[in-house]
């Protein structure tokens, strides 16, 4: 394994880890598809950023994407409060933003080469060559640094407000009665989701980011009964998917992000079937044991 392999695996693990970590909260709040919605609605942010600045460099586009990621969540929440069902509110918001982005792109930015594949949907295979320079010295892949910093921000913010995030997720009514600003923490969480998702798209592409927002958290949920352990496990499952997926992709000579996402899916299936507490098979066995005990008691 050379430094090329290592750069991809570590970047993949950082993407999977940070997405899994933040995605766990989305799963607990029944908002798992918010990441998918954000992946579409950021298009409008990117196009607007380009139209306003006339610049195709990464910084304005990243900011534009980030703002519209956050706006998606705000809008979904507002529609929800106004009486629209949660998934309908999500669907309406991101399709509208995405469509408006397409209209603006084709109407005003058509002649400019705005390469969305490049700007928005990064490709993990190119990560090792896109280096970050400090002066003249290359200090490693750009995506690795971006995702590392994003993951650190996620850990610090969630770590600092762990009890607030926990009680706001579990019992918002109680949280509000204690004087905790539930809406503020909701938007703080949304900002983290937005930051993480956009950074992950930019580094490794949309499929992998959306998959890692949902699958590692959903897997960890099946393996433990504690929030802390769920967060830790989601990072572990994400990292394992990245490493396993890379080996799979090298073996099959296939898409790296596809293989990483598929590995995450396979790990989820294993947990779904064999988890000691929540697994389908272990629950069936437990039912049979109880049944036998019941029978022997009757005899």
């Amino acid at each position: 394994m050379d430094s090329y392999d290592l750069a991809i695996i570590v970047t993949g693990a950082l993407v999977a880890g940070s997405c899994g970590f933040i995605g766990s909260f989305l799963i607990l709040r029944g908002m798992a598809l918010l990441g998918d919605a954000i992946s579409h609605s950021v298009l409008l942010g990117i196009v607007l950023a380009f139209l306003i600045t006339g610049d195709t460099s990464i910084v304005p586009m990243f900011v534009g994407a980030l703002i519209f990621g956050l706006l998606t969540a705000v809008m979904v929440q507002a529609l929800n409060r106004g009486g629209v069902e949660g998934d309908a509110a999500t669907g309406v918001t991101f399709t509208a933003f995405f469509a408006l982005g397409v209209v603006l792109l084709t109407a005003f930015a058509g002649r400019v080469h705005l390469d969305l594949d490049h700007v928005l949907y990064g490709e993990i295979a190119y990560v090792p060559w896109d280096l970050l320079y400090l002066g003249d010295v290359a200090i490693g892949p750009k995506a690795l640094w971006t995702m590392g910093i994003v993951f650190l921000i996620d850990l610090l913010v969630v770590g600092a407000f762990s009890k607030e995030f926990k009680i706001c997720s579990f019992d918002p009514g109680m949280a509000a009665s204690l004087g905790i600003n539930v809406a503020l923490f909701h938007y703080l969480m949304t900002a983290l989701v937005s930051l993480t998702t956009v950074a992950a798209f930019e580094s490794v592409g949309a499929i992998l980011a959306v998959a890692m927002l949902i699958v590692p958290g959903a897997t960890a949920y099946l393996l433990t009964d504690s929030l802390g352990r769920m967060l830790g496990l989601s990072v572990a499952v994400g990292s394992l998917s990245a490493a396993g997926g890379y080996l799979l992709a090298t073996w099959l000579d296939s898409s790296i992000s596809g293989a990483m996402a598929a590995t995450a899916g396979a790990l989820f299936l294993l947990a779904f079937l064999f988890s000691p507490t929540h697994g389908v098979i272990s629950r069936a066995l437990a039912r049979r044991r109880v049944g036998h005990r019941g029978e022997s008691m009757l005899q």
Binding site: K163, E164, K166
Partner: protein, 254 residues
């Protein structure tokens, strides 16, 4: 005491959802140290009254004082027990952890619960007879056990005024007796406990005050004076089956 012997003062409180009033012009003073049953038909606004007092729903008019001060200054004096169905019991956490949440209001921002909070939470679990289930995942508890965990969490808040939304809904007989005993104990300690309650049969046995509500306040006062057939008629209107229940309850209590 805490600035005033009046535990809860509510003045002209109205709350509306989508322009439809749910509670209207509620006005009362509740002296401290009583165990109060809030009774009224479905949709009478009982939960909304509690949420209005706690500032969880924006009022269209009126104000609330807890021991003489606005609620936001007295949060630490107030413990809230929401309806059991209002939370996701599949949340990955255990009973002890939920009880520890009762201490969050006493910890500042950025401070994590530690040994002291853990010890208090254990004590509170013991008080509701749930210490053996401290490390049990909350989805593996029965409805009655979940309700006891919620009560333990309220105890951990170490409040002077408790507001409880149907703590006896859907619990088994043993849990009901245990909870009612606990509520009486709280009153004996001088706390004020306001309980949304459905079972008219047990009102006279356990609650020394009653608040009758049907969008408007029908009556509030000592059970013996206020829990009358006439007031129940005003509260429940023409709902005959409920009236029959009420009459039965009255005959039992007299």
């Amino acid at each position: 005491m805490h600035g005033s012997e009046i535990a809860i003062e509510v003045h002209d409180l109205s709350v509306a959802y989508h322009k439809r009033p749910v509670i209207w012009g509620i006005d009362f003073e509740l002296p401290s140290g009583h165990l109060v049953a809030v009774v009224g038909p479905n949709g009478a606004g009982k939960s909304t009254l509690l949420k209005g007092i706690l500032g969880l729903v924006p009022p269209t008019s009126g104000w609330v004082k807890i021991h003489g001060q606005p609620y936001h200054k007295q949060r630490r004096l107030v413990g809230y027990v929401p309806q059991r169905e209002s939370v996701d019991w599949d949340f990955p956490t255990n009973a002890l952890d939920v009880v520890m949440m009762g201490r969050y209001g006493h910890l500042g921002l950025l401070r994590r619960p530690g040994k002291k909070e853990r010890a208090i939470a254990w004590e509170c679990l013991e008080r509701v007879g749930m210490a053996d289930f401290a490390h049990r995942q909350i989805s593996q508890l029965s409805g009655g056990q979940q309700q006891r965990v919620f009560l333990a969490r309220a105890l951990a808040q170490d409040a002077q005024v408790y507001l409880m939304d149907e703590p006896l809904a859907g619990v088994d007989a043993a849990t009901e007796a245990a909870i009612l005993q606990l509520l009486s104990d709280l009153r004996r300690e001088g706390k004020t406990v306001v309980v949304v309650h459905h079972d008219l049969q047990t009102v006279a046995d356990y609650f020394d005050w009653v608040l009758l509500l049907n969008m408007r306040l029908v009556a509030i006062g000592p059970t013996q004076e206020v829990f009358t057939a006439e007031n129940l008629q005003k509260t429940y209107g023409g709902r005959l089956t409920l009236l029959a229940d009420a009459a039965h309850a009255l005959s039992l209590s007299r």
